[in-house]
């Protein structure tokens, strides 16, 4: 065996948009925005905390000196782990370039897989969605795929969490209306985990919160960042910005202001308790100037996602990304194109916790068929990212020589050993020959996805929570109902 000097290998495809110097320039620009322009904070406790941390507070306007941002960037953990609530297995490690995929949560509408109709999402639709996510092997975490709307809306967040946690063991990223809803959800999680400390050690839930662009932290958002820090639980903070609408039309301007919104949230969180787990989000996209939608499928959306991933890696902060979604009003060719492109770019860029798989209609409606199709796309993307190993075993020179001109590789041990790991076999993607496709009913991808969704809803049973724990969770939901009835 010769020794090989100067040998570099790519263990995966190499992909980035921004250079380290560009990342630095954007970070410094965001810090200038925070120091010069500042953000508004509609929560008194947050303003007091920020003031103590060294920020300049004038009424609700808070300017953040760069040193305070630097300190928060030093104290924030570089990694966050999320667990399976049933097995306790630490499945989702948000660090480095690990890319995990999951759904999104707060769509007002969903497509009923039985009628094909767009309807308001309900507790049942969310329960069904979570079962489907639990069953799909390439989905790593759960968001509800709909707002529960057939219960009293003021406490619907508790119902939404109950529907999620009963139907999946995968980690949950959940929304809450305010800190009272968040506190109830934390209480449910502590019951499941077996205590406050146990939940902190092995969290299976992270809260989702967002600022309001441009540069505003509403009371709901700021107080959630504080409660998460006090509890030592991870929180996702996601500016949703639209180029030309709430941020500049230029991509660098989008990144700068969006990052400033994230970093000011980080400062609120870290000033409350240094070392609190924080996941930097960002759905950065364009406002389509013909229709005014917040686009979930534009090339700029993908470009910005990849850039934000570069920034997150530069800053060494776990990142919440977005992929597998579409502007299309139905699951059609456009949805397929937009979903696949975003999943491929996300997998290549390596943001960590990637949500909104299964969204159509620019994030207003969820589709379980689209989710199930994207389950295959994620599998394909993961195969791409695994790249190619080059070594003696994989070069297979002895085998090539043994078979020689005119032979075949079908009966070789080497083929048997490698073909399944080297090749990805999707579930719904069709590679049948024409005749067998006709014999099996000439079904489209959507039809096959619909069948699979119904099969999961009707036949799959997720690991249940113990009965007594289910009852305790019910008790918390009912308690919140009684409170608003008063």
């Amino acid at each position: 065996m010769p020794v090989k000097s100067n040998y570099a290998e790519n263990a995966s495809p190499m992909f980035r948009i921004l250079s380290p110097r560009q990342c630095e320039e954007i970070l410094l620009a965001a810090q200038e925005v925070l120091e010069r322009t500042g953000v508004t904070v509609y929560d008194e406790e947050a303003r007091d905390t920020l003031k103590k941390a060294g920020c300049w507070v004038d009424d609700i306007l808070v300017r953040i000196p760069s040193a305070v941002v630097d300190r928060a960037l030093r104290s924030v953990p570089k990694r966050v782990t999320l667990c399976n609530s049933r097995t306790g297995s630490r499945d989702v490690r948000l660090e480095g370039y690990n890319a995990y995929f999951g759904t999104g949560s707060d769509t007002p509408f969903t497509i009923d897989p039985y009628t094909g109709k767009r309807q308001r999402s309900t507790k049942q639709s969310v329960s069904n969605a979570c079962k489907v996510i639990d069953a799909l092997e390439n989905l790593d975490f759960v968001m509800s795929l709909g707002i529960v709307q057939d219960v009293p809306l003021l406490i619907s967040d508790r119902h939404q969490f109950e529907a999620q946690v009963l139907n999946t063991g995968k980690p949950i990223v959940t929304t809450a209306h305010d800190i009272y809803g968040f506190a109830d959800i934390i209480e449910m999680c502590e019951i499941i985990a077996g205590g406050e400390e146990e939940l902190r050690r092995n969290p299976f839930m992270t809260l989702y919160a967002e600022p309001i662009s441009p540069l505003q932290h509403a009371w709901e958002a700021a107080s959630k960042l504080i409660l998460a820090a006090k509890k030592g639980l991870p929180v996702v903070y996601t500016p949703c910005v639209m180029a030309g609408g709430t941020v500049p039309a230029t991509m660098a301007g989008v990144l700068t202001q969006g990052l400033a919104e994230s970093l000011s949230g980080l400062v609120i969180n870290q000033s409350t308790r240094e070392g609190s787990p924080f996941i930097m989000g960002g759905v950065f996209t364009i406002m389509d100037m013909a229709t005014t939608i917040f686009s979930y499928g534009s090339p700029e959306f993908n470009l910005l996602m990849s850039c934000l991933a570069d920034l997150a890696h530069y800053l060494k902060i776990p990142m919440f990304g977005t992929a597998g979604c579409s502007d299309s009003n139905l699951v059609d060719e456009q949805a397929g194109i937009e979903g696949a492109l975003s999943i491929a770019m996300t997998a290549l860029s390596g943001p960590n916790l990637n949500h909104d798989v299964g969204y159509i209609e620019y994030g207003s409606t969820s589709s379980l068929e689209f989710l199930t199709i994207n389950n295959d796309v994620i599998g394909m993307a993961r195969r791409l990212v695994r790249g190619i190993q080059v070594n003696d075993e994989t070069l297979a020179l002895d085998l090539i020589h043994k078979i020689g001109p005119g032979g075949h590789f079908l009966c070789e041990d080497h083929t048997m050993k490698h073909f399944k790991t080297e090749t990805y076999y999707p579930n719904l993607i069709d590679r049948q020959r024409y005749e067998s496709w006709v014999e099996t009913g000439s079904k489209t991808l959507f039809e096959r996805a619909n069948e699979k969704v119904k099969d999961i809803i009707e036949n799959y049973e997720p690991d249940p929570l113990p009965k007594d724990i289910q009852q305790k969770i019910r008790g918390i939901v009912e308690r919140s109902e009684q409170k608003i009835a008063k």
Binding site: P108, R120, I147, L153, L154, G244, M289, T292
Partner: protein, 211 residues
């Protein structure tokens, strides 16, 4: 003198604020009737803009540039006319409902309504039923428009409608609603007069309701 009008109209369409200002000034200087300047020069420009936007031939920022140019022209002409003679398509009170600070959509609707010739009173964000009631009493608008992004805050829309009923003002004003979680069904359920899915159709809806 009609040359001024044709050029004014074209300058509105291309959103040239300075050009609109100087042409309006010239038209006034040449002794044109101020109301004719509005009706034959400025408004026809915005009508074209509105129509082009609707079919996707113009984009939002271009529409807003045209609206800004139109407004600059109006500001020059207005002092010359009695206020009751100033053409206005109607008065509209608009705001984001209580508990909600999201206002990009509401502002967009507001600008689109203004560019369609409406007088808009923008009551801002976090506007509870009392704020809308007060604005209705003060301004006597033909329409009030409420916006919400959240399913929790959209409930406040119903409270405003109920308060208007209690005050005996519900039949004096049309109520329209919009925002991401809003649908026609929800509008029907809470007794609103209309729902518009986007800023362009909000202007059409007002036109229909005030006809």
């Amino acid at each position: 003198m009609s040359n001024y009008y044709e050029e004014l109209t074209q300058s509105i369409i291309s959103g040239q604020l300075d050009r609109v200002k100087s042409l309006t000034q010239q038209a006034i200087g040449a002794g044109n009737n101020p109301i004719d300047i509005i009706n034959q020069g400025l408004i026809p420009g915005m009508s074209v803009v509105g129509a082009r936007f609707k079919v996707g031939k113009m984009y939002v920022p271009e529409v807003l540039m045209s609206a800004r140019a139109m407004d600059a022209g109006m500001q020059l002409v207005k002092p010359l006319i009695l206020s009751e003679d100033i053409p206005s398509a109607g008065k509209i009170v608009i705001g984001t409902v209580k508990g909600d600070l999201h206002d990009i959509g509401k502002n967009l609707v507001s600008m689109m309504l203004e560019s369609a010739g409406y007088t808009v009173i923008n009551v801002g964000v976090d506007a509870g039923p009392e704020k809308f009631l007060q604005a209705v009493k003060e301004h006597q608008p033909g329409v009030i428009g409420m916006s919400a992004l959240l399913t929790t805050t959209m409930l406040s829309m119903k409270d405003t409608i109920e308060l208007l009923k209690e005050e005996g003002l519900r039949d004096k004003v049309k109520v329209i609603i919009g925002g991401a979680p809003i649908s026609q069904d929800f509008a029907d359920e809470i007794g609103a007069d209309g729902f518009a899915p986007d800023a362009g159709s909000a202007a059409d809806l007002c036109k229909k309701l005030l006809a």
